[in-house]
Amino acid sequence: MGSSTPLLAVEELSVVFDGRGSGEVRAVDGVSFTLEEGRVTGLVGESGCGKSVTSLALMGLLPPRGVRVGGSAVLRTGDTEADLLRLSPKKMRDLRGSQLAMIFQDPLSSLNPVVPIGRQVTEILTRHRGLRGSAAEKEAADLLYRVGIPDPKRRLKEYPHQLSGGMRQRALIAMAVACRPRVMIADEPTTALDVTIQAQILELLKDLVTEEGTALLMITHDLGVVAGLCDDINVLYAGRAVETAPREPLFADPTHPYTVGLLGSIPRLDAPRGEPLTPIRGSVNDNIAWNDGCAFAPRCDHYTLDCLQGPPRLVRSETGDAHAHRCVNPVRHADVVDRAVLESPSVVGDEEERA
């Protein structure tokens, strides 16, 4: 990880939902990571591992009732520091869209169907940059052009249903970058798109991060996307980080059996024909509470009785300073990585979707 002070430091973030009658649900259970200028940090995991809840907690978009959020998330802008989890709703409203922006998963449902695209872009310019009328419209057209939407003046007048899926996602990205936010969160931004468009969108995000020095938090279940885009990666399981590492060591030398399992379930281009994929056994619901032991143990091939001796701690891995895992029986020199994974993000991502 970089040496500079992080833009956003998330410490021991936890989100607990008060289940009605069914007891509470710990969706996020002590997750820590940092976001740095011009770098992409990935949160990876299956559905239900807490990655989307993490992003909503940081944005202050969790429902106001029935949720308890713990830990801290300190955002540094200039000389000021603010804990996002403790700001007043009004201050958060000022930060959202201007300093913090979010790109959502399903571009069609994330756009208001009855408001023209232009209005949906200019409203954020009016709110945070005070632009109105033709000035706002001109800026909106520039933004659409910048994210690769041709003929932006015409598109401004159109409605979401008149745009293609890729263009809708570009429009959402235009809204996200409209006020040059310091931190951007992308929650599965390519899941609803087809492969070629996925690659273009990832390319666009990468460019925006490089040009503006924005810190990007990339939330995905797609290891292809991770390999192609993320600098630092946190693998989440049942609300906790089970492995955290920069990209190279994670793919070259994964140590947590869950990470190894995820990589193993990606189809390899160089595998012999007809070789079955190796999925991870069971489902994300086959958990045990972290307090009793490793939550992944019921699905793990490396599981021993040691795994059930209380909660495993996040320990530094042998492979490097920034590489850590939460496992008592870490995997050594796992031979699961296809070099192709590192090189062709979108193709692998798509294959994984179909698998």
Binding site: G97, S110, L111, P116, R127
Partner: protein, 334 residues
Amino acid sequence: MLRFIVRRTLQLIPTLGGLSILLFIWLQRLPGGPEYALLPDDATEEQRAQLRRSLGLEEPLTVQYVRFLRNILQGDLGTSLQTGRPVVEEFFTRFPATFELALTAILIAVTVGIPLGYLAARRRGGVLDFAAVGGSLIGICTPVFFLAFLLKVVFAERLGVFPSAFRLSPGLNRTDLSGFVVLDGLRTGELDVVWDALMHLALPGLALASIPLAVIVRMTRASVLEVLDEDYVRTANAKGLQRRTVRGRHVLRNAMLPVVTAIGLLTGSLFAGAVLTESVFAFPGVGSFVYAATQTRDYPVLTGFILLIATMYVLINLLVDISYSLLDPRVRAQ
């Protein structure tokens, strides 16, 4: 947009055509034809048969249907058996009263129902929500004639706050321009007439509004709750927009789509529903006239009433479709 309106208007023709056929069949199937209604009880079978022939009732149905349709199109709905005056004329003198009543009712229902439903959704599970949902359940379950009597007894007869009957106080001088009392009063500046008319509209309007009000409260509440969970509302919040922008532009506008449709259907039903309310308050509208017509088997009046109600329904639905397409661009595209 214009093309949409034209196309939608042309679609009315087959709808109304189908309606005229149904109406014609209904008239054919009625027991006891005019030969029984028009001739004295001791008339001979020969006299009855002759009357049928002279009225053209022995001709083929197709011929009769064409004549029926031609008469309607020429604005001839026959003569009321009660009053002996043309049905169209009877309706013309009474329709403005019913129109004002229905409009009052729908205005009450919309101006109270939408804000109440919206607030109930925003404070889901709170006291207001509980009261709105419970109250609207009572509103839906209470028969209109019962509520009308209740209002009349309590507010008109016991408390004396509102007049208990008629459209205007007896002996009030007014200039009649169109038959629309409130409108005329506003145009001529006779504000005492406007006030008097509004006082007379209050109780029947409230009684008639009860069901649409209840439906609008519930629909608005359900619709707002649904929209609040939509991804685009989350996006709007993620952009840091002010609360009022999120609520107005992103929540309300989308939540109103199903409510607009409901308002249209409810308005149509008000013209039919006014029959009972008008009877209770002796309101001189179409409703009380039709109520009397059902008692005396005044078929020309009933036919005209069905035609009038159906036409209102169809026109209101046209308005709903047009306003819907203004609200939702996806409808225009199709």
